[in-house]
Symmetry: C2
Subunit: 204 residues, 2 copies
Amino acid sequence: MPGRRAPEEERREAILQAAFAVAASGRLGAVTARAVAAEAGISAGLVFFYFESVDKLLVALLDWLLAHTIVAADTPDRLAQVSDPGARMMLAIRRDVEWLPKQRERVELFFDYWVLGTRHPAIRRKIRRALLRYRDAFQPLASALVASDPERFAGMSAEGLASVAAGFVEGCALQVVMDPTQFDVERSMTTLAALVRAPAPALA
Amino acid sequence: MPGRRAPEEERREAILQAAFAVAASGRLGAVTARAVAAEAGISAGLVFFYFESVDKLLVALLDWLLAHTIVAADTPDRLAQVSDPGARMMLAIRRDVEWLPKQRERVELFFDYWVLGTRHPAIRRKIRRALLRYRDAFQPLASALVASDPERFAGMSAEGLASVAAGFVEGCALQVVMDPTQFDVERSMTTLAALVRAPAPALA
DNA sequence: AGTTAGATTGATCAAGTGATCAATAACCTG
DNA sequence: CAGGTTATTGATCACTTGATCAATCTAACT
């Protein structure tokens, strides 16, 4: 029965949510026009009416995903309460690492997009920008840390430290996707703490 | 013209090489029975004659890839010449990191398989095993390093150190695939050296 | 009520996929 | 050179995909 109108822009949103539902359970490969339409309870043609092509739907889904994924937004206050720059940095990292297993579906999807990005310039640009933005989020913490003890962090820029912090979390994300059952937040954090704490002038 | 026989087992190998050629230029998604057959100069049916299904061809290609990919096997001697455990570890890491951009195609393929593994148990097992094997390759170096200065590495197990080393290289691999032009071996190594060298008792 | 504009459907097309299989040609044995 | 074995082909089937489009229905506005 054609004609049953929906509240305009909500259709787009509904389709995107359906696309996410499909992708969350069957990954990006399962996101077909028919699958999304079935999930949304509409006809396949309507998907193309709102999103010209499946490709553009995927790009829109990535935007939706990035907009609806704020890492660890639930504890913005606890971080400010910690005065020590080092402890603040560690808490920030821990917060994100703890978030990873809880949102495994999103992390997996992100990696799907990341792989897709290798062949898709527009997606690659979006992913890269998101990663840079994530790295930059560590910048103020890194700056404070370096400033708090310039001698100890001699030779390390705040940029470098922020990169390493982001890289560590990304490495954990890799492990989470690879083997969720075997990933242990505490072990990862302990290893990081030990590594960073250990002076190793022998390494060159 | 049917009947033109090939030297037995060489056919399998030839098909696998063709599959690799296809995958190297068009990624895993391009590996179809027809594409591989065309690349190998045979008919599509023959692919199914030697590899029951495309799925099994992909698994066989992964095995082939793992067997034909020995990271940095060209400099096995230089490592032994370095007596200092710290420098040895750093050289080992550098060796692998330098290898990444040169073999980008293989690294990309590896990530394709890694993503595929999330849905394919057999592939996931193979990938996981390969990653563990890679991590274990750092174990002797890590043990020597920890033993060389127990006080400095207090709280760090050799396993943890090996994990971090492997994780660092994997992180670099991620960057290489994402943006080959922007990846800089020297910068990565410098950052690592600075991080490891910097004592940071403030971090907890 | 009549009209118009826009949303919605479902059938449909073309392209590409994995897989099967009868027919056939080369090889080996005798 | 006959005969059996085996690799090889190419046509073919069933299926899925992205995409298009005429027909249709609903809502809003006269």
